[in-house]
């Protein structure tokens, strides 16, 4: 049997051990609490402010296809084609396609070919319209060439409308106007809003002035 002093010593040791254990438990508990609070972001304000990197500039989705081409048959049963160096779908309006360096090729029932080029273009796949912007040049083989800033083309109907100044070069002269409309498969060209035309007749013999 153990002597009273041993018992007392054991009791003291137990007491010390239990005190240490209780301190340890308390520390662990406190640790948990602190960890929880840190997780909850409570100490966020105490931490030094780090520069929050700006959110990445997320561009709208772009469906980019290198050379973009649109082909179709117009109301006069003639093929048309619109190609562009680069084309991408509009982020908000899916039926709009933005075009870079677009080239439109159309054909009249007579077989004569039209080409129209611009710096940028917007093609509407639903209504089949092509709006060209910047250095727009319309050319019909061997007939005339017209330059304007902007042009709206209804691709199926092959009509063109320009509300900006236009200069058209024909074989026998030049027309300057402030607007132009082409209809009837290219057979009717209407120059609007003030027209200045200069024509030089073919070489005439003995052109006598009255």
């Amino acid at each position: 049997m153990s002597s009273p002093t041993e018992q007392a010593r054991r009791a003291v040791r137990n007491a010390t051990v239990s005190r240490l254990l209780s301190w340890l438990a308390a520390a662990i508990g406190l640790g948990f609490v602190i960890a929880f609070l840190a997780q909850a972001g409570l100490f966020h304000a105490l931490l030094p402010r780090q520069d929050v990197p700006p959110p990445p500039n997320v561009e709208p989705d772009r469906i980019t296809a290198g050379i973009s081409t649109v082909n179709g048959i117009d109301d006069g049963k003639q093929p048309y084609q619109v190609t562009a160096r680069r084309g991408w779908q509009d982020g908000k309006t899916p039926n709009l396609v933005h075009l870079e360096d677009p080239v439109g090729e159309f054909r009249r029932a007579s077989g004569a070919r039209y080409t129209i080029t611009g710096t940028t273009g917007l093609y509407d796949t639903e209504v089949k319209s092509l709006n060209l912007d910047g250095n727009v040049v319309l050319e019909q083989e061997g007939r005339f060439k017209a330059r304007m800033d902007k042009a709206k083309i209804a691709v199926k109907q092959k009509t063109l409308t320009a509300d900006t100044p236009v200069t058209a070069q024909f074989g026998s002269g030049t027309v300057d106007a402030n607007g132009m409309q082409i209809t009837d498969d290219g057979a009717r060209i209407l120059f609007l809003n003030g027209v200045k035309a200069r024509f030089t007749a073919a070489e005439a013999k003995g052109d006598t002035n009255p």
Partner: protein
């Protein structure tokens, strides 16, 4: 002092000015400048229609009207290219033609650039040349020979003797 037309209603006021016949050498064509409110090209009909305050100038000749229809044709050039050439000019409404020598007004006018023949018509066609005034219904002028003839109905002319 007013001189009545002849019995058959036509008066030939020969205003030949005795233009000397010029040597026919190929000269560069005189350009035609036309200003208007709008212009429409009808490819199928080979017409160019100028509408609204039309003012056409060729050399020293000026034509003004409400509307001018130019009929054209494709002309093969010596160098093989094709040029369009006016074959007929048809002016309508408030027609005024001014040349260095005369001033003509009427309701309509037709001019053939190939033959250089001009016809001006209307209820009151008027030719003023210096102090000479001729009034009638239809004026025919040959711009090559300078010969002008007023026909159609009663023709009135007033001449101021020198």
């Amino acid at each position: 002092q007013e001189a009545d037309g002849q019995a058959d209603g036509t008066a030939a006021a020969d205003t030949t000015t005795g233009t000397k016949a010029k040597a026919k050498t190929a000269q560069p064509a005189t350009p035609v400048d036309i200003v208007a409110n709008e212009m429409e090209i009808l490819d199928k009909e080979k017409k160019a229609i100028f509408r609204g305050a039309v003012d056409a100038t060729k050399g020293t000749t000026k034509l003004r009207s409400d509307e001018l229809v130019v009929t054209y044709a494709d002309v093969k050039q010596p160098d093989g290219t094709t040029k369009t050439d006016a074959t007929d000019l048809d002016a309508k409404g408030n027609v005024l033609i001014v040349t260095p020598k005369e001033k003509i007004t009427g309701d309509w006018a037709k001019y053939d650039p190939q033959t250089e023949k001009l016809t001006v018509g209307g209820t009151n066609v008027r030719l003023v040349q210096g102090t000479t005034v001729l009034v009638g219904q239809e004026l025919h002028a040959d711009l090559k020979t300078g010969r002008t003839q007023m026909t159609g109905g009663r023709v009135k002319g007033s001449f101021l003797p020198k």
